[in-house]
Amino acid sequence: MSNLDDTEFLEPATLAEALRFMADESTRAVPLAGGTDLMVQWEAGVRPPPSRVLNLKSLPELAELRAEGDTLIIGAGITHAALRRSPLVRKHAPALADAAATVGGAQIQALGTIGGSIGNASPAGDMAPSLLVANARAEVASIHGSRTIPLTQFLVGYRKLDLAADELIIRFHLDALPAEYCEGWRKLGPRAAQAISKVMGSYRGKQEGGKVASFAVALGSVAPTAIRLREVEQWVVGRKLNADTLREAEERASAEVKPIADIRSTAEYRQWVSGRLVRGFLEHLASAG
């Protein structure tokens, strides 16, 4: 016996069929992709067994991964394993490929999906920062049609998304990395693998003649959602990549984040690490020129 034996298992063959299930309250179900978060919570009884589960694994519409002009399109069902080994992702969003390579171990990477990671709406989700620096948009759909929302607005708060009960996350649209730009990803956890992040982040930037020409930076686990550090970004653009700039950017980043203390870390440590990460990203940018 398992406590999920009475859960109804819905197996749509197409996205349209899946959206019809979601449209009607009598058939609405919990969408299940890789299962790396949900299966654990159900089995442990942390979450009550759901009445219905909607299997997303079989939907071809969620499995696309392609570049279209200056946009990289990633289906919600793409796994971390597929992200880390995709030459397209490596080329157009390298910080996302790097982030995917640090989620769990190989077994978790083969199961977990980018849509599930964002859909889980945890501030500790490792996919969000790299998506944020690529100005990602989330595309969601219901039987009434689809809409595309900037990820900054889609991530509403702790465990909260701008997602209606009848909608599913379909894909993400990212600005492909422009020529002469570079990216980086850093994650701090208690050990190198299988660890939930204490603080993690990504940047995308460009330098010209020793000055910061463009800089986007996003951190996770420092606020209810992953966030862009807009104040640091604005302050640093146009400045010389020298010791004074690095020091002040570090201080400003520490001041800009408002993390909490929890079982994984303290607020003070997270603030300090946030500053160090931003400094590290600027050093990376300086050496990339």
């Binding site: 398992s2 999920l4 034996d5 009475d6 859960t7 109804e8 298992f9 197996e11 299940l32 890789g34 299962g35 790396t36 299966m39 654990v40 089995e43 442990a44 589960v53 299997n55 694994k57 079989s58 394993a81 769990g104 171990g105 190989a106 077994q107 978790i108 083969a110 199961l111 190198a192 693998a193 299988q194």
Partner: protein, 166 residues
Amino acid sequence: MKTVIRTWIVNGKKYTVEFPPMRRLLDVIRETLGLKGTKEGCGEGECGACSILLNHEPVTSCLIAAGQVPDGAEILTIEGLELTHEGQELQRMYVAKGAAQCGFCIPGMLVASYAHVTGDHPDNSDAALREAHAGNICRCTGYAKIIEAVSAAAERLSHEDEDDDT
């Protein structure tokens, strides 16, 4: 209690099984198929003891609703792995290097090793071998002997590839 019927290729043989769709793949492998080599450690996807290969990718079978595994899927468990050439080479090196102690993690560990040595262009540096086994926890060995064993097996297997080319 509703059930589904699936036909899978398990360790090279066709099996048709019936089970409640939200049962964990781990339970279907152990209880329905009767293949007890795959172990349950944590049941949370942390320890890797339940690792199997699903369509050639290593996965933790405790996290998969078995109904999500479609007809025609290929499953390789420790029982099938030991019938393969690479699996036997890994087994020999695990024994030779003393990589197994209590043995509970070893079926899952060997699955991770097998996935690595049979992958496209495996990188056999120490760092890459450690990363390939990062999803598997062992409380006995301290990992060094396991990594030595996989390294030795990978070395022997790569020389065979060279022989094939000549």
